[in-house]
Subunit: 346 residues, 2 copies
């Protein structure tokens, strides 16, 4: 089953390889009869042009490299789906590199060198494969801007902010502001927040959104209502307990992710505080489980598909040398479910 090539077609159809190429690409006129004959032979031998050879000659691979820190992180597949959606519509191929960072080097920046090594290696491999550009999906680069040298190959970062490169990240600040505005509209004013770790930029930006709403709506600002969590469900549980046992407890809690919000729900349940009757809760991420919780949880949905899609769009523009909007921030969407109601006695 030695592969059939353009030469075989040419021979069997009694034409030159050039002619075959012309019928394949329609780059020149070829007599209908000849075309017919060539096409028939192509069909007969089930000929598919060798894209590798084409790429070599055309110096275009129509392939873009995607580097993901870890594809098993909950929001990554949806971003990849967006990337794929774009790729599909534009006849592009995706060469996927999964750094598997979490599995390899643990969390945090204690192994920056290791991260850099893996990253540089991944970029080099993709360069070798002649990808036309790279989409990066992950959180690390935001604190390490300039660390990665792609040697002029266009790259778009997504799911993180960068200063000097093109990046697409949803609007954290606006999102938490929107959540706050919704709570205020429901009549709340005593609103607590449970943040993620403050070394995280999204955490700080979400806090900005919270604070912006506090000032803009002239809400009472009580330091006891500001709690710092660590993204894990236990911290949501524990901090909610603290909030609920305050002399003046809040009537609503905004948690910076659904995982912590789930902890809040459990704390409320154990304390006999009805959600949403006595306490409203809003999460962040619209994780699948948030719809299975009791009550079904109101939360912020991230525009993941759009991020992937836009990342590709920006990348292709950059490749073509067009001007690109460097820091796009598609909006999150508040998903209204059953964990928010007006405050008691409202």
């Amino acid at each position: 089953m030695s592969k059939v090539g353009i030469k075989d077609i040419a021979a069997r159809a009694n034409v030159s390889t050039a002619t075959v190429s012309y019928v394949l690409n329609g780059t020149r006129n070829v007599k209908p009869a000849t075309k017919e004959r060539v096409l028939r032979v192509i069909e007969e031998l089930n000929f598919k042009p060798n894209a590798i050879a084409q790429s070599l000659k055309n110096r275009r691979t129509d392939t873009i490299g995607v580097i993901a820190e870890d594809v098993t992180v909950f929001n990554v597949p949806e971003i990849i789906d967006g990337i794929n959606d774009y790729a599909d519509r534009h006849d592009l191929h995706i060469l996927l590199t999964n750094l598997r960072l979490d599995k390899r080097i643990g969390r945090g920046f204690d192994r920056v060198e290791s991260y850099r090594k893996h990253m540089e290696n991944a970029v080099a491999e993709l360069q070798g494969k002649q990808v036309e550009g790279i989409v990066y999906i992950g959180v690390h680069p935001r604190d390490l801007t300039g660390m990665i040298d792609t040697h002029g190959k266009p790259i778009v970062y997504t799911y993180c902010y960068t200063q000097d490169d093109i990046s697409i990240q949803y609007d954290d600040e606006q999102a938490s502001y929107d959540a706050m505005a919704y709570l205020v509209k429901q009549g709340h004013s005593k609103i607590a927040i449970i943040s993620g770790t403050m070394d995280s930029l999204p955490s700080r930006m979400r806090f900005n959104g919270f604070y912006k709403a506090v000032t803009e709506f002239s809400l009472p600002f009580n330091p006891d209502w500001i709690k710092m969590g660590d993204w894990e469900t236990e911290s949501g549980f524990r901090l909610a307990q603290e909030l609920l046992s305050l002399p003046e407890p809040p009537t609503a809690i905004l948690a910076m992710n659904d995982v912590m919000a789930a902890g809040v729900l459990r704390a409320a349940s154990e304390a006999g505080v009805a959600v949403p009757g006595e306490l409203s809760v809003i999460g962040f991420d619209n994780r699948e489980f948030s719809g299975y919780l009791t009550p079904r949880m109101t939360t912020l949905e991230l525009p993941l598909h759009e991020m992937g899609y836009r990342a590709m769009d920006s990348l292709m523009k950059a490749i073509r040398g067009e001007e690109v909007d460097r820091n796009q921030s598609p909006a999150c969407k508040l998903i209204l479910r059953d964990s928010v109601a007006p405050p008691p006695g409202d």
Copy 2:
């Protein structure tokens, strides 16, 4: 910034391209001094060999194609992670095709033709790109075996059973048998099952495992304890209500996925039936949320990473023409949490 090639290196190092190639690949002896010189120039110009050209000459791309029906389906990323793990260790690249079937053609087989078209198209593209083999991730092929002609290109199916091809799917029957054995060991004998839709092969196999345990452990067989669900949480909720209001209710329920099991938990909670005190529940899939439910749910973890890894291993064997175990079934693992206890009064 015109790409630097082996010719540039050769010129600048005063050697022929052949010599450069030899130092690059170590395929022939080259004088240490020359080698040194060439290497320095390579470093200087940051030369990376063009893998496309190499592939053309060597007739090897070291690339395998992965076709996923939908990367956003919960268990797919973990399989991809396994594939990637293998690829990493063996210096292979992954060309990812996401059919996005669910998004495009809806569920079910009402659009078989459309599925086939997409699939054939995907295979053709990958053929063109000269992948050395294909891993398929999805459920569709099992009922359509033989429908896809890869023209001799090795393919391994995963996450589904096939008859005529190499496939890797976890052992559904053994898994539900294991869950049953565990319940029996805890002292249960009145065990109900909530299945998925019965047009699904995994559903039927899980039922086989259940039934095998019933006979092997001589459990009472009560037709009322056999319920057919539709994989969705509402059906778990509703069927659990029916089970709990039976004159002789079961002391344990095995649900064929975590989503339905979550519904069972909710039904128990609403009916004031304590889990695990009065009712034990086991789910299937070890979805992330199953750890956030109250009580944390005992469930079966699927060997997804291993499936991906093994799929690659089998594929590479097939590519090399070695003998391959055609239908591997790695085992699921029972994750013990808090939703199972001995039956009341035991």
